[in-house]
Symmetry: C3
Subunit: 351 residues, 3 copies
Amino acid sequence: MTSPFPCTAADLAKLLGRTVAGDANAVITGVNSIELAQDGDVTFLGSDTFAQHLPTTGATCVIVREKDAQSVRSAAWIVSPNPYADIVTILRAVSPLYEHEPGHRDPRAVIDDSAFVAETASIGPGCVITAGCEIGENTQLLANVVLYPRTRIGRDCTVNANTTCYQDTLIGDRCIIHAGAVIGSDGFGYVEQDDKHFEKIPHVGSVCIGNDVEIGANVTIDRAAMGQTVIEDGVKIDNLVQLAHGVRVGENSAIAAQVAIAGGTVVGRRNRIAGQAGIVGHVVTTDDVVVYAQSGVAKSITAPGAYFGSPAKEHAQALRMEMALRQLPELLHQIRTMAAELEALKKEHQQ
Amino acid sequence: MTSPFPCTAADLAKLLGRTVAGDANAVITGVNSIELAQDGDVTFLGSDTFAQHLPTTGATCVIVREKDAQSVRSAAWIVSPNPYADIVTILRAVSPLYEHEPGHRDPRAVIDDSAFVAETASIGPGCVITAGCEIGENTQLLANVVLYPRTRIGRDCTVNANTTCYQDTLIGDRCIIHAGAVIGSDGFGYVEQDDKHFEKIPHVGSVCIGNDVEIGANVTIDRAAMGQTVIEDGVKIDNLVQLAHGVRVGENSAIAAQVAIAGGTVVGRRNRIAGQAGIVGHVVTTDDVVVYAQSGVAKSITAPGAYFGSPAKEHAQALRMEMALRQLPELLHQIRTMAAELEALKKEHQQ
Amino acid sequence: MTSPFPCTAADLAKLLGRTVAGDANAVITGVNSIELAQDGDVTFLGSDTFAQHLPTTGATCVIVREKDAQSVRSAAWIVSPNPYADIVTILRAVSPLYEHEPGHRDPRAVIDDSAFVAETASIGPGCVITAGCEIGENTQLLANVVLYPRTRIGRDCTVNANTTCYQDTLIGDRCIIHAGAVIGSDGFGYVEQDDKHFEKIPHVGSVCIGNDVEIGANVTIDRAAMGQTVIEDGVKIDNLVQLAHGVRVGENSAIAAQVAIAGGTVVGRRNRIAGQAGIVGHVVTTDDVVVYAQSGVAKSITAPGAYFGSPAKEHAQALRMEMALRQLPELLHQIRTMAAELEALKKEHQQ
């Protein structure tokens, strides 16, 4: 698809399957936010938050909800039940995704004879699909993706460039794996010998990822020593996250960038783990737990709620401690004064 | 190798080179842990920790130490001097590693004429072996591995997919490098100019990795500006670790996920650095140091022992501080009361 | 270029375009620092810091500033206006960079017909250059680099192996991108639904990187949901850093390893963000801010200066708090004593 710009407001309305009001022939050359839009731009107003900008925006065309149409002062406008979705449609026309034609088999890909690739799945250049792999319908492997033997990926997935899946990795449907992710590498498990050198524990488990999971760029998820590391349906994982061997993440949990979760830990459903937080191994967090950024969870969390600090405490307690700590230098001074006064009083008494 | 299942208990015993007791014809269809095993599973008991599960496990076949044989209630059992090693053998048969045939030269690999690849070394698809590289016997480069010029890798190593080694990287024998690791990138070194822009310091050193080292997925190890960044024998490095230019890590040290060690720092032997910890540049930790998770080591550590906190202190001191901090909000209240009482006493005295 | 060693001191001088003093025929076999250099080594003295080693160094040849020439006791010496630059020249001859010939088009690269690659740009093996990409003069794509459609890279850049740029990524001139970096992946943006599952927010923005930017190994920089994530001229980013969607980093700022900056945050010019620090989303740091290692910036910073702690405070305040905290366990003891004494005094009074 090529860029729709330059075009008229009427052309945009047609692209969206809607009708234009005002000057249908107004020329549109770009997209911008409502505060920054200038002559030639199309913009949108999707919520009340930015409504004050509607009368003053420099945009030539605005996509608005019906209730906002009367406040438009721009040359043209398009009424929509979902202005945000419509602006995304326009932007996707400007910046289409990198995708192969369904059924593409790039001549520079390597596909083992024993692998099964569904008819509509697409395999980009430099991909390596080894023995016993299975790729579902409409799934896209973009470029230089390496799948070790018996990796199975469901339908409607996108696997971005330079991703690696180790043997027996299982990925559900509608997943997005971002570039550079490594799924199924050996866990960090050794037996320390008497002379303090390490003997490696073989990792013969695997990684199992549910449906509708998104995995960020350069994420690492280790295979279990035995059994499975499990990411349940609907989990969203940000860039550079580390999930160790045998971790289980409950459905619809979200894990922000650079979080690390150590081996064997079970994260409940609907947890929200903020950036750079860590959770030690072999603990459990219950459902509906929020862990704040940079916190260190050192033991199991059995009550839903928010936790903060390293080691992590209930958020309210952590805040009280932080507030108290800020008063501590002054407190030291006060106590020294009190101690002197007390000493003086004692002396007086003894006289 | 194809999966051994379904098979009989006798077949498994044969695979292990052992003898079966009980029902030799019992059909085995899977593997599971002793608590979770069900009808058709083989399991194992390798230590006393889980011994209470032996009489009640649902497994059809159990691999046990001789001393536990009398307590087996399952249909079949196999006595072994090392039940754990035997179950790993079975699991490896179920989930074999991704390996090429010794001596494999994939037609989609690029191998420079001036590179030396030992006869039994294997080079997978998409690998790029540039001028002057050397690869030792039985070493496996799996897929899309890029070695910049003069990288030398010893024998019996495995280098996983999408790994990059910059020029002059030196790797010993029996090392495992996990996918996405970057070894030998330029260190973060600049000279700040008067106008505050940075001039890059050329990095002409290299990285030297000893024998029996394991390096996790997406790890980054920078080359020294001059001289070498050194990882000594037996060091184990978890995923997403950052080792800066000129770092040296002493033998048999273990560094957990997302640790960062800044430039020029020397880590002693047998150190244990837990996840997300950081060590500043140009300091030294002595041998046998343990750094707890998320700690920040801000100066050299000269005594063996455990350290915690940011900045890191002796673990016992850090614990005392943490315990005291938890009492601080209440303490503030108490001190306010004491101050009021003291004031009252003073007033009485003055009367 | 092959190694210059072994050679004479005169050969080295010729390589540098300078003249040799002392024994022009002294044989040089290696390079080392002034403290460690031994017989056969060339070394350098570039500043006063190491001047005390000049009379005692074991080096056979020393490169020195004119003012230091009289203190040389080695067999040969070379006077230079910039000894450091000269030793780098020698080291570069020993350890040349991985580069392709200008204009190289590797037969194992994939270059879309609609892409523009400047005549002197070089495309290494396994690179994937998709539709509408543009690569400027003298830029090097080393190996297995994947550029999604419409990526534009300026002139004199180096893009190292296994790097991925998503669609519409824009990179200026003289940039260095290290191996495994992922630029332009989708931001971590979802709308939580009533049933707590997440709907993905389409990310139709892009990443724009200025001139003279260096990006470390395995760094991740997300595209904006709309608009741009912006890295201004002269910014230096260390390994494993995470920059979220819509972040802007001001010119000549430096961001050390494993830093994470959350979505929409604007970092000022000439900021210095130390390792493992984090900055929350949608805040601003003014120009000339220093954030210490492992700090967590939880709100906007409006005054230049140094900040430390999680949450981050002015550095001096954070230090006072840390000092006070160290005294806290003892303080608890003191207060208990004071409380007892106070109680005793009160009782006496009541009598």
